[in-house]
Subunit: 272 residues, 2 copies
């Protein structure tokens, strides 16, 4: 699964869950646009070539609607045909993601600082955005040996079990933290993932004390990650700076001692 929030506020959209009744709260809402985006979002659930019928089923729209949306998206390059005739996301989506990164002032400011951090640390450096139940990787500066997913911007990780997520949680008030943790699925990504509510709270409180959070093998075995939160002008957490290293090269304590100050400094430089 790519995203956990089901595409914005559904209450306002004409498509409310399984209900067939179309109650239009928002007079300006374009249902055909939403349906076209549901078509694209189907590939977030199944990252493989899909037939029109599969897409229609996944997006919960009629085959006709899927047909029209797919034709339109195909002609504009946001959908492509795979070699076997199936449908795939189109490369135009890369252009739009590029625009996102390029237009976003925070990311523009963050990039040189992260590049500097990458140079000074020689470890992988990531920049993630806080997005409710998940965090979203926006910038990834790899080290030498990496996996497929460690190279990809756009990847999401649950907030509760990522160091970046917990670093950001630490800056919320208790009620907001509780709300997020309760709504989270808390499924383990590795055998080391901390899923127990009390233990997560301990980690969050620790992050409050130390000014940074860390996670050992919670999302990838053999990896230790350390993060500091970036705050906006209202002192709300919006992003996190991550430094990730390998346990084959570092002990957890050495890694923390060495890199925590660097991550905190970078995050402070990006905060208001």
């Amino acid at each position: 699964m790519t995203s956990d929030t089901p595409s914005g506020k559904q209450a306002k959209s004409p498509r409310n869950g399984g209900d067939q009744l179309l109650e239009v709260d928002d007079r300006l809402f374009l249902q055909s646009v939403a349906r076209a985006l549901y078509v694209l979002e189907a590939f977030g659930r199944d990252a493989r070539p899909m037939s029109l019928s599969e897409i229609a089923a996944s997006a919960r729209i009629t085959k006709s609607a899927a047909q029209r949306a797919a034709q339109t998206l195909l002609s504009l390059g946001y959908l492509e045909r795979s070699s076997d005739g199936g449908l795939l996301p189109g490369r135009r989506l890369l252009d739009r993601a590029f625009d996102y990164l390029r237009s976003n002032p925070l990311i523009e400011r963050a990039t040189p600082i992260l590049i500097e951090l990458r140079k000074n640390s020689s470890e992988r450096v990531d920049f993630s955005l806080f997005d409710d139940l998940s965090i979203l990787y926006a910038i990834r500066l790899q080290s030498k040996r990496e996996t497929f997913f460690a190279t990809l911007a756009g990847r999401r990780i649950p907030t509760f079990c990522s160091s970046g997520g917990r670093a950001m949680l630490a800056h919320l008030d208790d009620a907001a933290i509780d709300d997020i943790l309760r709504r989270s699925e808390r499924k383990a990504l590795t055998p080391k993932t901390i899923t127990d509510l009390d233990k997560i709270w301990d980690k969050v409180r620790e992050a409050r004390r130390e000014g940074y959070a860390y996670a050992v093998e919670e999302s990838l075995l053999g990896e230790v990650v350390l993060s500091a939160a970036v705050l906006d002008d209202r002192r709300q957490p919006v992003a996190a700076v991550h430094i990730a290293g390998s346990l084959s090269e570092w002990t957890v304590d050495d890694f923390r001692k060495r890199f925590a100050p660097l991550a905190i400094e970078a995050a402070r430089a990006l905060s208001y």
Copy 2:
């Protein structure tokens, strides 16, 4: 400018250039979907927060249409409000780009090979897709010191002046090459960019002989890039493997001798 092709085949869309007459060739084309995408594409021309009116002007749609599209995109997370109330691309676009990379079989196959190549070369390794007048970076594995744009997937570079572009051109027939070069704007990116038609042809012919192409400071001063084309099952070029190095560390000849075999081997492994 992000993309050169004006969003697919305009002839089939109801919006034909400056004409106001809406002639619908394709009965399945959803104009509101297209307009919503034109709204997003406006940020490809201006990567900054924009007002609704600016967007409407840039997308060549009425303010009302822009208003409806923006509301819809906002509610679905594909558009966001900036701190000053302007509109910006939304982070949901990153999810879709992630889906694109994850669903694409070629990119899935390419990633481990590129990671290996990056490890063996210790230089920056890129993977680009052929897209008519431009090439589109899909995977970027940075080296230590990089610039902002060198880290971003989704970036486009003109085909005619990039080593990857010319490596791919070399596998087309002469008429197709001529067609692409004629339609290209051939604007210099650096003082070293080769814009002369005959000289570009020389470079393409050289790439045919050698099995790879290279470019010295043509898109970034101080940088040498070397590329080999990836062919599909019809022997048509679809992508290119790039290795990029710094002229402060390499002479052009040494760089070519050292890395050309590696790039060619990686590209062959990805071809059919």
